[in-house]
Amino acid sequence: MNGPGGMATLADHKRRRIDELTARTAEGGGVSLLRDAGRRLLRNPAAIVGGAIILLFLIIAIFAPLVAPHDPVQRFPELTGGLTVDSIPGASAGHPLGSDPLGRDFASRMIYGARQTLFVGVLATLIGLLCGVLLGAIAGAAGGWVDMLIMRITDVMLALPSLLLAITLVALARQPTQWTVIVAVAVVNVPIFARLLRGSMLAQRESDHVLAARALGVRQRHIVTRHMLPNSLTAVIVQATLTFAVAILDAAALSFLGLGDPDINRAEWGLMLGVDGVRYLEVRPELAYFPAIAIILVALGFTLLGESMREALDPKNRR
């Protein structure tokens, strides 16, 4: 293939050359793989169902103030009136799902719950992803003792079962807040993302287009940011999708253990299930069932989508 000569500088030439090489290596990987994967994804009913659940969840979360009939933290006299420690009013006019244990509108809390749950899940995933990707990229790009050190640290973290690590982190926090929960759940995922990215970068370091780039004298940073990272990210995105489901389940488990977000004003499904749901299971089972079903559905949605994505990206399934 002939590059346009003339005004192009040497650097430009090199860059173009690498892009060509990348594209060629990606023939069977890379871009066409992505397009292929996308097509397979759209044909997969599991992915469609997962995507639909997530979409519905997102819509409710984003438009919660429009959808919800009431303020989720307001206590209503008509609800507190009938509220005692051993009975919680059920559905009534204006309150389709009745009251929560403090006389607040349960339906509104369920709806706002989508928002908070999304918040916790997304942040926990994102923080874990960013830290992990950063560590993994550094390890993968630098190699040598830096790599060694980072990998030892992830070893230590992986040596503890995930929920146990989260429990420990919360126990070791000075003050339980929503953020300790988010961070604890996030930290659990850091080593996973770090190893994932590092592995994929190491594989690429040996691959043709990176070797070629190096041979052509392209700067290390450029190789990492322009060529290695983007190619590793697909795997990371798939993992992130699956992580989201785990994150909201872990947050719920922490709440159940009494180590979750202490602010029960916050309408978050895990918190609602793990604290009120379990405590008032006999008084009003709906307080457990609704958040539980919501969590199961959303976790299912993300798992379905994540698994379908992984399947679609798997070169073995290219038929």
Binding site: R152, V156, A159, L160, L164, F256, G258, G270, V278, I296
Partner: protein
């Protein structure tokens, strides 16, 4: 092989020392802690002072660290704040309980998971397969403490099919031998005790098995599907071997290789799940111990030892899995 084991064990040592140091200094920097935990609402300031002195918290931190390290090296993790017993005693009592529960869960997960996964693969793309996939996905998505509560609610209340909590009925005599109640009953011929312990074990084990079961079904299914596509299965077919032989000798054996790894990885899930399951069923194992030593009591000596134990178990189990892999898969053996 020996070199690999030695290297892994030395890595374990480094990991543990790093972990312990980290935990030690972190714990000392926290508010509250042992002094608070040992004293109720009624302590006078003088008592608080006496206690601080008695525990040596008035000494410089590096002196405390030195003492801590010396103790740990000699295997002394101190006493539980909550019960005053040596941590080693507390843990060695809880350990068999959790291992019994975890083993039962593994037995269920493997015993049901492999056949189900195999069946699903055999019915690839058909109803049974799809149903299995959906059920396992839901299984992975259910918060297991919630599942535990539901099972408990349905099967222990009103119907009294199972006992709601604990490891053995009050008043049933069992002589402690191993700490595994079911096994103890068999060893001492206290059949009642053994049956009763088993009866208590079922619900918690089922609850704990949910996630590993779902995962094993999926891994087995994927493994079988992969293997069914392998050339050597076609070879076996071309030999005219009977279906059963092919299934057992050529398909399952190879398909189960990844399952073995998965079982190792599930140790983590099981330990984490045990925390939730044991709380639901008041099981009195390591999981309960972890919750108890954090929530409400901040029993740091126990917590410290438990974290180390979890790390050791996790690493050792993974080492064992690697080794067993080497035994099962001849390709790994030579390397």
């Amino acid at each position: 092989m020996v070199r690999v084991v030695l290297r892994r064990l030395s890595q374990l040592g480094v990991t543990l020392i790093a972990l312990m140091t980290l935990i030690f200094f972190w714990l000392r920097s926290l508010p509250g802690g042992p002094v608070d935990a040992l004293l109720g609402e009624r302590a006078t300031p003088q008592t608080r002072e006496t206690l601080t002195r008695a525990l040596g918290y008035d000494q410089p931190i590096w002196v405390q660290y030195g003492r801590f390290l010396r103790n740990v090296v000699t295997g002394d993790f101190g006493n539980s704040i909550r019960t005053g017993e040596p941590v080693a005693d507390v843990i060695s009592r809880a350990f068999p309980a959790t291992v019994e529960l975890a083993l039962a869960a593994i037995v269920i997960a493997v015993g049901l998971g492999i056949p189900l996964g195999y069946l699903a693969a055999r019915h690839h793309g058909r109803l049974l397969d799809n149903a299995t996939i959906v059920v396992t996905l839901v299984g992975i998505s259910v918060p297991i403490f919630f599942l535990g509560y539901l099972l408990k609610d349905w099967l222990t209340q009103g119907t009294h099919l199972f006992p709601p909590s604990g490891r053995i009925s009050t008043g049933v005599e069992n002589t402690g031998v191993t700490g595994f109640f079911v096994l103890d009953g068999l060893l001492t011929r206290e059949w009642d005790a053994s049956a009763d312990a088993l009866w208590h074990l079922i619900l918690p084990a089922v609850t704990l098995a949910t996630i590993p079961l779902a995962i094993i079904v999926r891994i087995t299914r994927a493994g079988v599907l992969d293997v069914l596509d392998e050339d050597y299965v076609r070879t076996a077919d071309a030999k005219g071997l009977r279906n059963a032989t092919i299934r057992k000798r050529h398909v399952l054996r190879n398909a189960l290789l990844p399952v073995v790894t998965t079982i190792g990885l599930q140790t983590g899930t099981l330990l984490a799940g045990a925390v939730l399951t044991e709380k639901v069923y008041n099981w009195g194992g390591l999981g309960t111990l972890i919750t108890d030593s954090i929530s409400g009591s901040r029993d740091y000596p126990v917590l410290q030892a438990l974290i180390l134990l979890a790390a050791v178990v996790f690493i050792v189990v993974n080492l064992l899995v690697d080794l067993s892999y080497a035994v099962i898969d001849p390709r790994v053996r030579v390397r």
